[in-house]
């Protein structure tokens, strides 16, 4: 069996001295869809580690079946989303030195999605909503290789395509966080930036505004910006996607919040991609 000491040698090298390593206290939610509870663990923490390193050490030395979803461990794939002390975080990008050594760190699964096991949730909601999006549709006759776009025009969409689909914006969104009944009629921030990206694509030809309001629930959003705050890619979800989209749908539908914002910023002066 691997001991705690062996693992320390693996992850931290032999240079690590006593000062740089300590026993951390973790409370990790364990259970499944039927029941579960917080379980206490005492586990070694080494210099420079992130929460996911410590979760892995628990797995390797104390609870071999502790379920956790992860892939890249570099903040690029968005798999290891969980709630750390109640806040949505990527476990791989949460450094242990942001906590005090005697803090007890609580790790729980994302609350908005059904639990599968331990820290792993069923995020199929997001994949189902993605299927509803009418895909990018270029003008007929435009041949691959003939696309000409200016950097400034692709950058607006590129901001949203930075999304790593960690679904933490969906997790924190109060429209669905504690309102399961809203889910069928609400796509959530992750999908709103997808709609915005397509709307801002210089060559897209489809108008998705009606669908966005009627079927995807853009109007439910009352711009509390929780999604923007948790985005690990620092995408300005509310300011750059949701509010502009609310303004864009005002033409045909009245949304009081969008009406206010429309007065603040003259979005219409910019060209409307997809219609040019």
């Amino acid at each position: 069996m691997t001991t705690t000491d062996d693992r320390a040698a693996t992850t931290a090298g032999t240079e690590v001295d006593g000062d740089k390593s300590y026993q951390g206290r973790f409370r990790i939610w364990r259970g499944d869809a039927t029941a579960g509870d917080l379980v206490d663990f005492e586990v070694e923490v080494n210099e420079g580690e992130v929460v996911l390193d410590v979760i892995h050490r628990v797995q390797a030395t104390q609870a071999g079946d502790l379920a956790v979803r992860w892939n890249c461990k570099a903040g690029k794939c968005g798999s290891c989303s969980a709630e750390i002390n109640g806040k949505p975080r990527l476990m791989c990008m949460t450094r242990m030195d942001t906590f005090e050594r005697d803090d007890t760190i609580t790790v729980t699964p994302m609350r908005t999605f059904p639990v599968i096991r331990d820290l792993v949730t069923d995020v199929s909601f997001n994949y189902e909503k993605a299927k509803e999006v009418h895909a990018f549709t270029p003008p007929e006759g435009l041949q691959p290789g003939d696309y000409r776009m200016q950097q400034v025009d692709v950058e607006r969409g590129q901001e949203f395509r930075k999304c790593i689909e960690c679904f933490m914006c969906q997790d924190i969104c109060h429209v669905i966080r504690d309102h399961e009944d809203n889910k069928p009629a609400f796509a959530g921030p992750r999908l709103f930036i997808r709609y915005a990206e397509l709307d801002m694509h210089p060559y897209d030809t489809v108008d998705r505004r009606d669908k966005l309001v009627k079927e995807e629930g853009l109007g439910f959003c009352n711009i509390t910006k929780c999604c923007t705050e948790v985005c690990p890619e620092h995408i300005k979800i509310t300011d750059n996607a949701i509010i502009p989209m609310k303004e864009r749908v005002v033409d045909r539908r009245y949304d009081p919040l969008a009406f206010l914002f429309k007065r603040r910023k003259d979005y219409q002066s910019e060209s409307s991609p997809g219609e040019g």
Partner: protein, 626 residues
């Protein structure tokens, strides 16, 4: 927890009571949902095949997402002098001429169309001033050639393909792991054909089988057998192992690419990739004396095309016609070895790497614009501001050039109906892959594999091969074995020992003694791995998942060590301390590994496919010009 007292011979908890197998039927099953898998599935679907994608992770999380620099394609958007012949030549020279010439040719010819196609599916690449797709410089490429989106090109590529696959309505089996391929016929006669695949759902732990005449392996690489690696947990060599077990062969397994620049500090992030774009965009390597040391490591093979002064190197970024490439942009094998030598000579950085400096060479605005992910990665994980101070970097296991031996045009293996594309396939990159050639490889050969898989399935008519029930039963028994054994080995411990051994013994610099030691260690671990024990039940149990990945990791590790021992020369991603020279004879030989009747791996030498004269002349022209 439901684990009770354990007794050998009796399944614990629910593990043994549930052996039902959910059955599906398709024309083409694609295993893996990275760039190659998604592109293959799209091609198969477009060709009219009933197609399924089966992947270990959620859709969009595959390793392609981590690719940073770009997609190499000779679109000639910035340098009209570029074209497929130059790209072909660069690729072959980067691979030390051991590449399968036909794969390198198809790759160079078709890559531009594959990139433009992504754009027509919604990808938003960075632009040139005249609105075309921008292209960036990279190691070993004569001209700026990599289509890119900042330093998150892989994310753009996987999202584009993912969204395309979803729009087409292709069935995706997410978090579903394939543990066995099913065949008909007799393996010993070499007449077997693909009949399907068997696996389990990670969420429930329940079994699933696919009946399909065509299976495309797109499972990526093998990096998780090494301790310091840029690869994610998925890279356990599943496709390599599945192919071998089904009767296919592997080629070039000795060639493992150590990317020169991985993070070295803090310890927990050691190995995470630092994109080559840092050097492509002007970054330089320095040792602890502040010396730009790469000028001391220019090999004879690349002397004619590499700058020999800092002044010339710096001029090259703006004027490629009158200056030669900086030595920092030599192919990855050269740079990795140089860094290794500097550290060994005592000129390393405080944490055992060297310095990668872009801060003193480009403006903060330029850096954060061109390299946003690198900026955040260092800021958040290491507390380093790369616009103000140098990074510490060192080699990390990144890519395996070796893989399933396939037909260049169809990507078909020796087994009828079994295809391989992307990193799991071998031959394309020879002894060393150039940066940027992976993403283009995924697209070019993913599409070819999907097309060929669909065509083969359709050619069979009603004569679709079927696997006998015994294979499914054997796969079920093997998958449940770790629940059967009590008090055995911890899979995490076995994995850890394997990673340590491969890192220490089969790294950048190799010797016969070390290869033998690695083979001995793998044999020991394989014996111990017959007694793996897992705790808990079947639903989403990572310990069990790892236990089922370990035999694959052990098998590919054995193949790598075995081939590395056999090749008594140094070339590309294979450097032998006891045979430091490149040997002309070995330049005509591929090492092929397949399993014998007793299931043990055996190695044979096979002549390298001979390049036709009209392609050889490309090298002559280049030679006379320089």
């Amino acid at each position: 927890m439901t684990t009770g007292p354990t007794t050998d011979g009796e399944y614990r908890s629910i593990a043994g009571t549930e052996t039902s197998v959910e059955a599906h039927e398709y024309d083409v099953v694609v295993i893996g949902a990275g760039g190659a898998g998604l592109r293959a599935a799209i091609a198969a679907h477009d060709a009219g095949a009933r197609t399924a994608i089966v992947c270990k992770s959620l859709l969009g999380k595959a390793h392609t997402v981590m690719a940073e620099g770009g997609i190499a394609a000779a679109m000639a958007n910035l340098w009209p002098e570029d074209g497929w012949k130059v790209h072909f030549r660069d690729t072959m020279r980067g691979g030390k001429l051991l590449n399968h010439w036909r794969m390198a040719q198809l790759h160079a010819q078709e890559a531009p169309d594959r990139v433009w196609e992504l754009e027509a599916w919604g990808a938003l690449f960075d632009r040139t001033k005249d609105g075309k797709i921008s292209q960036r410089d990279f190691g070993g490429h004569r001209y700026a050639r990599l289509a890119h989106v900042g330093d998150r090109t892989g994310l753009e590529m996987i999202r584009t393909l993912q969204q395309r696959a979803v729009a087409l309505g292709i069935d995706v089996f997410m978090e579903c792991t394939i543990t066995a391929l099913l065949t008909d016929g007799d393996q010993s006669t070499g007449q077997q054909r693909m009949a399907g695949a068997f696996g389990y759902w990670r969420e429930t732990g329940k079994f699933v089988s696919f009946r399909a005449p065509s299976v495309v392996l797109a499972t990526g690489g093998i990096g998780k057998s090494f301790k310091v690696t840029s690869n994610s947990w998925e890279y356990s060599g599943d496709g390599h192992a599945l192919a071998l077990t089904a009767g296919a062969s592997l080629v070039n397994m000795e060639f493992v690419q150590f990317h020169p620049t991985g993070m070295v500090w803090p310890p927990s992030v050691r190995g995470i990739l630092v994109t080559e774009s840092v050097r492509g965009d002007g970054g330089i390597l320095k040792n602890s004396d502040g010396e730009r040391f790469m000028f001391g490591y220019i090999p004879e093979f690349f002397k004619a095309e590499t700058a020999d002064s800092e002044e010339e190197a710096d001029r090259w970024y703006e004027d490629k016609k009158n200056n030669r490439r900086p030595p920092e942009l030599l192919p990855r094998d050269e740079v990795a070895r140089a860094i290794n030598s500097e550290v060994k000579a005592g000129r390393g950085s405080p944490h055992g790497g060297v310095f990668l400096d872009i801060a003193s060479r480009r403006s903060a605005e330029y850096i954060t614009k061109r390299l946003p992910s690198m900026y955040h990665q260092f800021k958040e994980l290491a507390g380093v501001d790369i616009t103000a101070e140098p990074m510490e970097v060192g080699p990390t296991c990144h890519y395996v050039m070796g893989g399933v031996e396939v037909d260049a045009d169809t990507a078909e293996s020796r087994v009828s109906g079994l295809y391989a594309a992307g990193e799991v396939a071998g031959g394309m990159h020879g002894a060393n892959r150039l940066g940027g050639n992976s993403l283009s490889d995924l697209l070019v050969f993913g599409r070819r594999a999907g097309d060929a898989a669909a065509a083969y399935a359709s050619s069979l008519g009603d004569g679709v091969p079927a696997a006998d029930q015994a294979q499914v039963e054997a796969a079920t028994t093997a998958a449940l074995a770790p629940f059967l054994i009590g008090g055995g080995e911890n899979p995490y411990a076995i994995h850890h020992e394997l990673q340590e051994s491969m890192n220490d013994l089969v790294g950048i610099i190799r010797t016969a003694e070390e290869m033998q030691a690695a083979l001995d260690k793998v044999a020991e671990l394989r014996d111990r791995a017959t007694r793996l024990t897992v705790v808990g039940d079947r639903p989403y149990n990572p310990g069990w998942h790892l236990a089922l990945d370990i035999p694959n990791m052990l098998l590919v590790s054995e193949c790598i060590a075995m081939a590395a021992l056999e090749r008594t020369e140094s070339r590309g991603g294979h450097t032998r301390d006891d045979f430091p020279a490149t040997d002309k004879e070995w330049g005509t030989i591929n090492l092929i590994i397949s399993l014998g009747e007793d299931g043990s791996a055996g190695i044979t030498r096979q002549p390298l496919p001979v390049m036709p004269d009209e392609l050889k002349s490309i090298f002559d022209e280049e030679g006379s010009r320089s």
